[in-house]
Structure formats: C-alpha cells, structure tokens
C-alpha cells in the first residue's frame, strides 16, 4: 500500500513544485480592489463614494496624469472629486461620483472602469480598475393624508435657535475701548483736544526764573542775569529779537501787553544802561530788581489773559 502511495505523492509533489515555479511572484503584479460604501439605494443627485485600493510593488509610483479628471464621465454620471492617499505599498484613490440617472424602476447601472498608469522600475505599466455596478432606485411621490385646508399641509416654522451673543458683546466692548485708546496717540500726533499746542508761557517761565534768583537779584551779576531772563522772555513772546526800538511794534502786534508799556520802557532804558552804557548801578536806579519782578509778574498775568 505504501509502495503504491509513494509514487503518487512524489508525482503530486513534483507537480505542485512545478506549479509554484510557473506562478508569477506576488510582489511583482499590482492588486486592485474596489470598495464602495454601498451598492444599492441610489437616487437622482446622490453622491456615490468608492475607494480603489491598489497594492503596488515596492518602489512603484503612481502616474497621476493617468487618473480620471473630475467632470462628466457618462451622460448620467459625473466624477466630482478624486483624492490619492498612499501608505507604503497601498495607494488608495478616494472617488466621489454623482448620480444623475432618473430611474423609473429599480435597476443596476454599471460604473465605468478606468486604467491607472504605474511606473515600476522605470517602466510604465497600466492597471485596469474594473467596472462595478450600483443599484439605482426611482423617487416615489409623497402621499400624505388628505387635508381639507391646504394650509394644513404646511408645518409650523421651526423656532429659531438661540445664539449666545454675550461673548461677542464683550469682544465688541473690548475693541471699542481699544479704538478709543488708539485715538489718544492720534490726538497727540494731530494736536487735537487736550493736546492742542498752547503758546509757550514765556513770561510765566521768566517769573519762575526770577523767583529762583532770589537774593542774588540784588547783586550786580544777578541783576544783569535777571535783565537777560526778561529779554529772552520778550524774544520768545515776539518770536524774534526785540530791541528797545522794536517795542512799539511789539505792543502793536501783542496789544495784551500794552498796560505794561511804562514798565517795558523802564526795562529797556535800564537794560541799555546796564549792558551798553556799562552802568549797571544806574540801571538799578531806573528799575530796581523788585520792580523788575513786578514787571515780570504783570507781563505773565497779561500773557495768561491773552486770547
């Protein structure tokens, strides 16, 4: 018995080995699988999603130019979108078709296949994606119960959903405050409102300087310094250097200082004696330091009252 079985087994083994050698290597040929989400129950306008899974040899690349282009595929079918995802040797084509077939009865329609180009080791190879079928169904008319009043067919409006605007009010408030704060530097830059440029109060500054001189104003150098302080204030108020002869013109231009005319005349007389007559003592007789301070204060007061 064993002697009869052995030659058969040996023959089978040889046949099997031979068959194994004749088969191509599993790695070398690409494998195509089409997976649809369902294959029945499609109405007019429905989207048909399908994944084509290609298992390709290592090193093979997909020739994207060979893929179908979104657009009409048949008179009843559009390709809406195609996406390619690759994980290792698996290339998945996500396809989205749209069905425009207006079915009058339930029937099967064939989704067309297409070739996909692969580059394997530098040579191009086409792989056919096989066609598959889907079941399309007709739309049936709705037959609600008969109502007497046609308005009864209408359903009441759905109440609008409640949107919580609290957060947006907070954001709006915050942005409004930020906008107001941003106005501050702008107002400063354009000299608006509280930042409006005010004329410098030259005499007010001069009075402060004179006060700081204090007792030193009674000395000769201090007195000369005090005269200079008032000179510079006058220059500042006039916008140019004011000499004794310019005083009438200065008062014409700035009538607010006219009440101090006598004081100014004495000031210029004293200044002339002190600086150009080289006689500070005589100048201090004409206009003592105390009177100089009084003049400064009256000029500062006039300055405050100006328009």
């Amino acid at each position: 018995m064993a002697a009869r079985i052995l030659p058969i087994a040996a023959t089978l083994t040889v046949l099997l080995l031979g068959a194994a050698q004749a088969q191509p290597a599993g790695d070398a040929s690409p494998d195509v699988v089409v997976r649809a989400e369902r294959d029945i129950g499609f109405f007019t306008g429905d989207l048909i999603r399908a994944d084509v899974i290609l298992t390709v040899p290592a090193g093979a690349t997909l020739d994207r130019a060979s893929l179908p282009v979104p657009g009409p595929v048949a008179y009843w079918l559009d390709l809406r979108d195609i996406t390619v995802v690759r994980h290792g040797r698996t290339i998945t084509l996500h396809l989205i078709y749209q069905n425009f077939y207006v079915a009058l009865d339930a029937r099967r329609m064939q989704m067309p296949g297409f070739p996909v180009g692969l580059l394997i080791g530098g040579t191009a190879q086409a792989v056919d994606v096989p066609p598959w079928t889907i079941g399309v169904s007709p739309l049936r008319e709705v037959a609600p119960p008969v109502q007497e009043d046609p308005k009864a067919y209408l359903q009441p409006d759905r109440p609008a959903g409640y949107l919580d605007t609290g957060r947006w009010w907070t954001v709006t408030g915050g942005l409004a405050v930020a906008a107001l704060l941003a106005l501050l530097p702008l107002a400063y830059h354009r000299a608006w409102g509280p930042f409006r440029r005010r004329p410098a109060r030259d005499f007010a500054a001069a009075v402060r300087h004179l006060r700081r001189l204090g007792a030193r104003g009674e000395t000769e150098t201090g007195y000369l310094e005090a005269l200079l302080i008032l000179h510079r204030a006058l220059d500042g108020a006039a916008g140019r250097r004011v000499l004794a002869d310019d005083m009438p013109a200065f008062l014409n231009r700035r009538p607010v200082f006219t009440p101090a005319r006598a004081g100014l005349e004495a000031f210029f007389q004293a200044s002339r004696q002190a600086f150009f007559g080289s006689a500070p003592a005589k100048a201090r007789q004409v206009l003592p330091f105390k009177d100089l301070q009084v003049l400064g204060r009256s000029l500062a007061a006039a300055e405050r009252g100006r328009p």
Binding site: L227, L228, H231, R232, D235, R240, R241, L243, A244, D245, S271, R272, F275, F276, G277, S278
Partner: protein
C-alpha cells in the same frame, strides 16, 4: 559855516551841523531820507560809498547836493569799456601851436580840494581802472607826472549798473570790500513826493534846484577830525562787542547759528566775505549813527540800522545762489538779526 577843526567845536555843535547838512540836502532831494541819512553817516565815518539804484532816481542830484552842502570840489566821471587809468589822470590835447600837450586831468587838478568824486557806472570800466580807483580809495593818493598827488578830503562814490551785463566788468570781491557802504537809491515810494518830482518844475532843472542850497553848511576840511572825535566819543560796551562778534559768526556760518532760509542750503550758501575790515566799518557806521541819534553809547539798534548797507555787499555767496543775490542776502541779514540774541 563852522570851523570844526578848531578845538572849540563840541560834539553837540557837530551834531547840529550834521542835522543842518541833512536838512539842506533834504530840501532839494525829496523822498530819499534814508539815503540822505546813510550818506551823512558815510561822510562822518569817512568811508567810500557804492550807490545802487535805477537810472534817473536822483543819485547824481543827491551827490551834487551833498557836494554843494559840504563845500570843496565835486568831480564826476563816466566809466566806459575803453577807459584806461591814464584817462583818469591825464588830459591830453593839441595846443594852439599844434604840439601835443599833457596836463593833469580835472580830478588831479582838484586834488587838494576834491571832496566828492562820483564814478558813474564803475562796472563799465576795466579792471586796470578799478585798480587805480582802489589805490585812490585806500591811500587817498595817486602817482602822476613823477610825483604823488594827495587827496586829503576825498570821498569816492561809485555807481554800479546792475541792469546790463554785456561789456561790464563786475567789481572783484576785494574792490567791493573796500567800499564802506552800499547805499540803495530807489525812486521815492511816497505818493506826494512822486507827484512833486513829476510835476514841480523846480525838480526839472538840477542846476537851479541846487541853487536852493545857498552854500556850504560845513567845512569839508574839518571832517577828518570830526570823524575821529565821533568815533572816540561813542562808548562800545562789552555786551555790544559780544553782539557784533556773534553777528559776524552768524553771517559767516549761518547754519551753525541756527539761521535758516526757505529753499536755501545754509551749509553752502556763504562762501566768504564779511571781513574784519567790514565788521570794523559796521561798528564805525554804528557809532556815527548813535551820535546822530544823540547817544554817547553804541546800542544794537545802531548796528542793526546800518547792518545791511555795510555788510550785504561783502558777503560772497555760492555761485548757485549768486543770481538771486539781492533777495537772499537781504533775507540772510534779516534772519541773522532776528536770531542773534541781544544783549
């Protein structure tokens, strides 16, 4: 007529004489109070003057009137492109016997008494003539006939033609700097004065007009001493000295002094000029002005009053700005005076 050379003449008397001189000229030359005041200042400062102004505004009349009121001789010469220095000194002619003669010119002949020499259109004369004139101005002497002629009382007035540029020789910087003042003589702006000048026949005959000045108001021979006396009598304090020095600094380096003019690059505006001689002339003129105003001290107002006339023609600008010279220098002077602190 007062003998001012005598020691008895006081400064007050002198001032009275100066005022009388101004009044006498003012009677025949109307609407030119400022020019009369400036010429008076230059007379009492013994400086030579450059006159600028349109034709026919009365420059010659003004000078002849001053010549008459000062006494001494008056001579006038026209600058021409073919004039040579010898023409200024020699008079050549063919005598009755048919032989050529060379005699001193009118200017040379009056050397001892010439008080006003008016050189009209100085920029029409050649640089050789300018050179002779500069010597005459600087040294008050020229050499001719192998001897030196002295002009003890001479004051030169030159007029510059500012309209035409053809066949003219612009005064070199050195020549301009020798002039004490550049006095503008413009047509009067006063309506009444204009009407008088047009319609009053008194102004149509200059010789008869000048007869209105009866005779010399003062003795031109005493002016040198009078000028020295005025210069010594007016006090210049340290403050005003500082002020003038600051003015000098500001006009030479306006950018550093914070002086700015619209549309002008202040760093390159001023090339030079404003010499120490110019500043000395400024103070000299300022002192005479102070004295004429009845003061014994120089104040910034005096300096300011004569600043443009004594300084403007000595400031030399970058050639880019030279064509707009008049307005730019005037603005520069005004800006410097408005910027430099006093005292």
């Amino acid at each position: 007529m007062k003998d001012m050379a005598s020691n008895g003449a006081t400064l007050n008397d002198l001032r009275g004489t100066a005022n009388a001189l101004e009044a006498a000229v003012g009677r025949v030359v109307v609407g030119q109070a400022r020019a009369i005041r400036l010429v008076t200042i230059s007379i009492f400062a013994r400086g030579h003057v450059l006159l600028v102004g349109d034709v026919g505004v009365g420059k010659t009349t003004l000078l002849r009137a001053f010549g008459r009121a000062l006494g001494g001789a008056y001579e006038r010469m026209e600058g021409t492109v073919d004039m040579m220095p010898a023409d200024l000194l020699y008079h050549t002619f063919i005598a009755e016997d048919g032989r050529p003669r060379v005699q001193p010119s009118a200017v040379l002949a009056k050397a001892d008494s010439l008080s006003i020499f008016f050189f009209n259109e100085i920029n029409r004369a050649r640089p050789q003539v300018h050179a002779l004139l500069l010597r005459l101005m600087a040294e008050r002497s020229v050499t001719a006939f192998n001897r030196t002629y002295q002009f003890p009382f001479l004051q030169v007035y030159a007029d510059r033609n500012r309209v035409e540029k053809e066949e003219t020789f612009e005064l070199p910087a050195a020549a301009r700097d020798r002039f004490f003042m550049e006095i503008p003589v413009e047509a009067p702006t006063d309506f009444e004065a204009r009407r008088q000048l047009i319609f009053d026949p008194r102004f149509h005959d200059v010789d008869r007009l000048l007869d209105g000045i009866a005779g010399p108001v003062l003795d031109h021979r005493g002016l040198e001493d009078a000028a020295a006396q005025v210069q010594q009598s007016v006090h210049t304090s340290t403050a005003v000295q500082d002020y003038v020095t600051r003015l000098w600094e500001a006009i030479v380096h306006p950018a550093a002094a914070g002086v700015a003019l619209p549309g002008v690059d202040m760093d390159r505006l001023v090339l030079g000029g404003a010499s120490p001689r110019g500043l000395a002339f400024l103070v000299r003129a300022g002192r005479v002005r102070a004295w004429l105003e009845g003061r014994d001290m120089l104040v910034p107002e005096d300096v300011r009053d004569v600043f443009v006339e004594t300084m403007a023609h000595r400031v030399f600008l970058d050639p880019v700005y030279e064509l707009r010279r008049e307005s730019i220098v005037r603005d520069l002077c005004a800006a410097v005076l408005a910027t430099v602190p006093v005292p």
